[in-house]
Amino acid sequence: MLKTTGVPDKALILTRFPDDVILGKPKAITECYEPIPCNPCETSCPFEAITVGEDINTPPKVDFDKCTGCGICVYNCPGLAIIVAQLKNDKAYFKIPYEFIPMPEVGETVHAINRAGEIIGEAKIEKVTLRKKQDKTALIDVSTNTELIHEFVTIRRMR
């Protein structure tokens, strides 16, 4: 599916998620499934939680013990292929990269979007971070229903 539509299969997606207990804390989900020559996730992580290794074509591997879910890799990934996910207080929380204008506002209700680009529910904008060092890729904190933990990937503003 990924090869023909750009949408990874559910089974493939699950290989990148830790279990729900570990997801009690925010963790990086690296959706970089094929070997491409790239390693900024590894070099940008201040906790040495992501490993690519000598051959930069190796897909990244996350050490969930070390990952703090800070989100630095999210805006440093050239493929915008990393999100941070967390299950907390009966809600699913995410940090996602965002490169469109206008930026959503804190408190705004937006569409929750899955990997096929379909609307799967609603989400709420919790925080919008765009510092100079992020180089125009905003980091958006968003919350939605826990059932969407493996489905949600981005937002779309309601117009």
Partner: protein
């Protein structure tokens, strides 16, 4: 149509440059090529093909394919995709191979 806001790029408004397009006064901005200025005005046909006189616009935007050649200040075959727009330029649609003007 010109981009006003962009998530990555900052397009600052530059100096307006007036020029003549097929005898009509129009304008673009400093930093434009002739082709980008015309495109912003909605003008996509820049020349006609030599044999069949089919309308042609630009294709490569690197000065390679000759699809955007126009007559500029009397000189034919000017690659408008890499030629900066200047105030007062006379730009005309080219409809033939171009005529060499010895007096220039």
């Amino acid at each position: 149509m010109r981009i006003k806001e962009h998530p990555i790029l900052d397009f600052k408004e530059t100096k307006k440059l007036h020029f003549m397009y097929n005898g009509k006064q129009v304008y673009g901005f400093e930093g434009d090529t002739i082709a980008s200025a015309l495109h912003a005005l909605g003008i996509k046909t820049l020349r006609h093909s030599i044999e069949l006189k089919r309308p042609r616009g630009f294709y490569c935007a690197i000065g390679n394919c000759a699809s955007c050649n126009m007559i500029v200040d009397g000189t034919p075959n000017v690659r408008t995709c890499i030629t900066p727009l200047k105030e007062g330029m006379q730009v005309e649609t080219q409809k033939d191979k171009g005529v060499y003007n010895e007096t220039r």
